[in-house]
């Protein structure tokens, strides 16, 4: 085992980068769970659609990927609103389990529609190329990729924007209110259906951002969204369902833990470590690490 501090620091950086992506996914899921008490298992598919749109804009039209991300977020956000309207709205109020079934149907639909759309562009895996792909800068003893720095900056800018939206606007207040108590908000004159749409749209847009960033640092395939999304579920369960703060801290922490676990235990543990953690937390502290809403 090489315990070189430079290597360990690189492992940490990678953990923070991948953790930011988990954070974006988990935040969207937590927001959605808070407002609609809904778990959208097709979150990973929205993520990959986002990645694919950014890929198309960047590779076909030559748009800078970091700008294309915003178009992709808008498009996937609208898709999220449509999904809420056409699929989840009709079954609202029926057995909870129907929502799980429906999102599994959505996984099949979106994943394979996407795979079909992928076919003409590349054989298996694609990667979004950025103009900074080969450039690094020195940070103390190690070199950091420009992409990593931009990715972290963009992620945090969006998170700050989300924070301002949630805590300093009227819409944000309505959204938090719905999350705390749906009926009471309704009685206070909040149009909760509009809040549902809004939450689904934001959640989908965050997934698109996560997917695009994932596609910049990793080769991706239409089927690549399932595992990150499932890890994000693990994160929001760990962080306490519906808690955005838990999603942020949990996502970052999880990325770092996964990065180190992969480094020390070997690659095939990368995907299982999430569930070992999840099982442990559910057994010891089933309410999650941070209980509470918003």
């Amino acid at each position: 085992m090489i315990l070189d501090p430079i290597v360990l620091f690189q492992v940490l950086v990678w953990g923070v980068v991948i953790g930011s992506i988990y954070m974006l996914l988990a935040t969207g899921l937590a927001l959605l769970f808070g407002v609609m008490k809904l778990i959208n298992f097709a979150h990973g598919e929205l993520m990959m659609i986002g990645a694919f749109l950014t890929f198309l804009l960047a590779s076909r039209l030559g748009v800078n990927p970091y700008l294309a991300v915003f178009a992709s977020m808008a498009a996937v956000g609208l898709l999220g609103v449509a999904i809420e309207e056409l699929a989840f709205r009709p079954i609202r109020g029926t057995a909870k389990i129907n929502e799980i079934f429906l999102s599994i149907a959505l996984i099949l639909i979106l994943q394979n529609a996407l795979a079909r759309a992928f076919v003409p562009y590349f054989r298996e895996y694609a990667q979004i190329r950025t103009p900074y792909a080969t450039r690094v800068f020195a940070l103390g003893i190690v070199n950091i990729r420009y992409d990593f720095a931009i990715l972290l900056g963009l992620t945090w800018a969006i998170m700050v924007a989300l924070y301002v939206f949630l805590f300093h606007t009227g819409f944000g207040r309505e959204l938090r209110g719905t999350s705390q108590n749906r009926v009471a908000s309704m009685l206070m004159g909040v149009d909760v259906q509009r809040i549902d749409r809004l939450a689904f749209g934001i959640s989908a847009a965050l997934a698109a951002l996560a997917g695009s960033l994932y596609g910049i640092i990793n080769p991706f395939s239409p089927y690549g969204g399932t595992l990150p999304a499932i890890k994000a579920f693990a994160v929001i369960i760990l962080g306490g369902l519906g808690s955005v703060r838990g999603a942020v801290v949990g996502g970052l922490l999880y990325g770092i833990v996964e990065s180190f676990a992969t480094f020390f235990l070997g690659g095939s543990w990368r995907d299982a470590i999430a569930f070992v953690l999840l099982a442990l937390v559910l057994l010891i502290r089933p309410e999650g690490l941070f209980r509470g809403t918003a």
Partner: protein
Amino acid sequence: MTRRFRRTLAIAAVMFLLPALLLAMVRELFILQILTFVFIFAIYAQSWNLVAHSGQFSLGHASFLGVGAYASVLLVQHLRLPPAAAILVGALLPAGVGLAIGGLCLRLREWYFGMVTFGVTAIVQVLVVEQFGWLTNRWDGLDAPRLVPAGLPLERVADLNYLIALGLMVAAYVAVASIMNSKAGLAFSAIHDNELVAAGCGVDVRRYRLLAMAAGGYLAGLAGALNSHTLTRHVSPGIFGLEDSIWPLLYSIAGGLRTPEGPILGTLVVRVVWEWALRRLGGFESLVLIGSLLALVVIFVPRGLYPLAAAAMSRVGARRRRPAGVTPP
């Protein structure tokens, strides 16, 4: 013998005789293969449905499918058991896995349960590949010997596989229907509807949830073993994927959740639509179609096809039985 059990036996007889007759008439190998597949995966869906009946919606059923297949193949390889015995003995291991997972998840419901069971499948895959790699040949997997004795002509093998799978499917149906109609079934149902109230009424929630997981593990493991000895003739870690955990759920929802007939009807219908679509449309489009159908079923016919068909049948029956001269209101 209660009325319900007589009804179960009657349905089981039809369920066995119709396909057996079909075997005498149809000689196309690919149709027999599709039907054999339907029988095997109906057992698998039956298992998922039984576990769901006790309020536990598993998203990791592939662990049982895979462990059953590995256990059976290893029993044949190392203990020289005949495959026909190995599938029945090997399925005890996934039953044990079911007990372990069930014990781990006793406090969990709905998506918590789904998430953890899904996660366990990922862990099982790693364990099979890494920890037991010396036994399981890692990612390459193991070849599974034929279920029936070697030396038979290929056509006879297909016929025998078909009949064995059919027989086991009918046996599983009778077993699950009996469980659902028994006191245990009532307990499952109570736990499904409201665990707290069930516990308050004296149902031993822990015991019955574990019972459902063990029985489900056994049946799913049996299906996995049967599949690897007849259709795939191979078992590899790919079996622990998301897809194999989703299919039984699809079949059960389409056919009718929490009825013993539903999973069988659902497997048949979905599989036939699937095979048709695959030939007409291509792989991606077929999966989109299956997904859309599932979404439509969930939105518009949440109880599934079997209750719909049963209601239509009884309506026809009622019309025929109506005495002459009496006008309906």
